[in-house]
Amino acid sequence: MNRFNLNDQKRPYRSITILIFVIVGCIFADLFIPYVPSYMNAAEISQAPSSNHLFGTDAMGRDIFSMIWYGGRLSLFIGLLATLISTALAILYGCASGLAGEKLDDCLMRFTEILMSVPQILLVIFIQAMFGDATAVSIAIVIGLTSWMAVAKMVRSEVKQIRNADYVLAARTMHGGFFYILWNHLMPNFMSAILFMIITNLGGAIALEATLSYLGVGLPIATVSWGSLMALSQKSMLSGSWWTLLIPGIFLVVTLICITQVGEYTRTRNRREQLL
């Protein structure tokens, strides 16, 4: 069906370049940011962008340019850790379900369906509220624990298709263990199919952390991430300082759109390979 999507033949070079730029900038932020991100300068509250403060300052007198690069680290870290956890869980769960007998498989899939019927954000705040106050790691774990279901379903349907292939049966007859077969025979087969979901999961995790921190149920304002950076922006926006909202927001949105573009590219490429 690919010939109907007109834009998917191109590799998303633009998105990849922007992503690399953002990632490198965040990692090496210490080398070039002009202010200490957490430093609150009471004399320079809510200043518009100028040569002194490239992106202006927020309502607490912090330099937004410094905070964006510094906070990006935390946001990307949370996204990566959450994706790692959800992917590992999804692969284990999906394989177990795909290889299990019909009854157990049915039960496991019902379980994921029920979990999916509650919106992810609600599950996250529910579990996080039980955990106690949020830290970067706890948020990543909770996001990871609540975003594996869709990937697991995909893994299961892929595994179901290849579980009876000759090479899997051969490995089984030679007493290949669950993890041996999973790693050597199953994973190489379904990784390309779930890659796009993993990439979109990464974007989803970053967006979710930003949403939570923005709403005040994620990271505290003192811990700088892209979400908590914007937590104060609604009030300052009403008083006219648009830069506290727009500049971090555009950073976040551009990153997310680039991740989605890369994800879309892997999806269409995978479909093309399957058709060929």
Binding site: N7, S117, P119, L122, F126, S157, M237, I257, T260
Partner: protein, 343 residues
């Protein structure tokens, strides 16, 4: 005649049984999430007061909350109370959980229903528009917007809308469900509804339309469409009278799968606009670790989603009677879910 009535009855019973079973499983999951996470329920219930309690007070508090019983007994007790409509007391509001929810759930219901209907109608119209102009700039633009908006967090879209319409233009209110003292004023209420609805529709419509467009664009390549063309039917006629009917089951599935994401998005938007509803209640409760309240909100949302999914299934079986006998194509279903699942 009797036979068909008996069949209908058994059909309804089967669906009802499925629903009760799913509901039971959902309550089990929600309960065990609340109890198995490493947090301390005592702390969640009494807050920082726990630190000031003596040993005896702690023991008494534990006894009162029934924390000394086994998990199974705790669940049975909780479930029995829940059946009587007693979901415990909200720690933050110091009231019965249901009586707090009673005050706000209608707002959420109104907001999400309006958005759901709007997205359904507009999405379908956009999809038809795209397919009629397939490959042209408009079509590509809408598809690109669909993919992009799907990755933009809702709160950002809502903030942009507030900035444009409430701060710069000053034409619409930016928070609440009604102005102070205007609770009975219908136009005032509607005015407060405009921005939240707009925010939800903008963040979900395009992707929905994109999914529907892809379905429709596959459909217009079917052979019967070629036959219809050869017969000399106009494109409009083909799409409206033939293709739409055939993609309806898929559209219904898309909307059903979309619902949890729509609800999650609506909750966030409610919070941004301080719109009194289940969502803002949920986030406020999360700030205070009010887990009784969160449990009920999770349960209610889950029930609504499960009900809608079953309704969609029934509608699909009515639309396409093959579905009642065949298993739905699982692979296609899950890939669709995977694509919708990421906001």
């Amino acid at each position: 005649m009797i036979n068909s009535r008996a069949r209908t009855a058994s059909y309804i019973w089967r669906k009802l049984g499925q629903f009760v079973l799913t509901l039971f499983a959902l309550s089990l999951i929600v309960f065990f999430i609340a109890r198995l996470t490493p947090g301390d329920p005592l702390r969640a219930f009494y807050g920082d007061a726990v630190e000031r309690m003596g040993v005896e007070q702690l023991a008494a508090a534990k006894e009162r909350l029934g924390l000394n019983d086994s998990l199974i007994t705790q669940y049975i007790n909780w479930f029995q109370n829940a059946l009587h409509g007693d979901f415990g007391i909200s720690f933050k509001y110091k009231q019965d959980v249901l009586s707090v929810i009673e005050q706000v759930y209608m707002n959420t219901l109104l907001l999400t229903t309006v958005c759901f209907v709007l997205i359904f109608i507009l999405g379908l119209l956009l999809a038809i528009f795209c397919v009629r102009h397939e490959g042209r700039l408009v079509d590509r633009l809408i598809c690109q917007i669909g993919v992009a908006t799907n990755s933009i967090p809702e709160f950002f879209i809502a903030l942009i809308l507030i900035m444009i319409f409430a701060v710069n233009l000053g034409v619409l209110p930016s928070s609440g469900a009604y102005s102070v003292g205007q609770a009975g004023n219908l136009t005032d209420r509607l005015e407060h509804l405009v921005l939240p609805v707009l925010a939800i529709v903008i963040s979900h419509l395009w992707y929905c339309a994109y999914l529907m467009r892809n379905k429709l664009s596959e459909e217009v390549r079917a052979e019967y469409v070629l036959l219809a063309k050869v017969k000399g039917l106009s494109q409009r006629r083909i799409i409206y009278t033939h293709c739409l009917k055939n993609i309806m089951p898929a559209v219904v599935s898309i909307m059903a799968i979309f619902l949890p994401h729509l609800l999650g998005g609506a909750y966030v938007i409610e919070m941004v606009f301080s719109f009194p509803g289940l969502g803002s209640l949920g986030f406020e409760s999360a700030k205070y670790h009010d887990y009784n309240m969160l449990m009920v909100i999770c349960l209610m949302t889950g029930v609504v989603v499960i009900l809608t999914n079953m309704l969609a299934q029934v509608v699909n079986e009515k639309l396409d009677s093959r579905m009642a006998y065949e298993q739905v194509d699982f692979e296609e279903d899950s890939s669709l879910e995977g694509r919708v699942a990421h906001e």
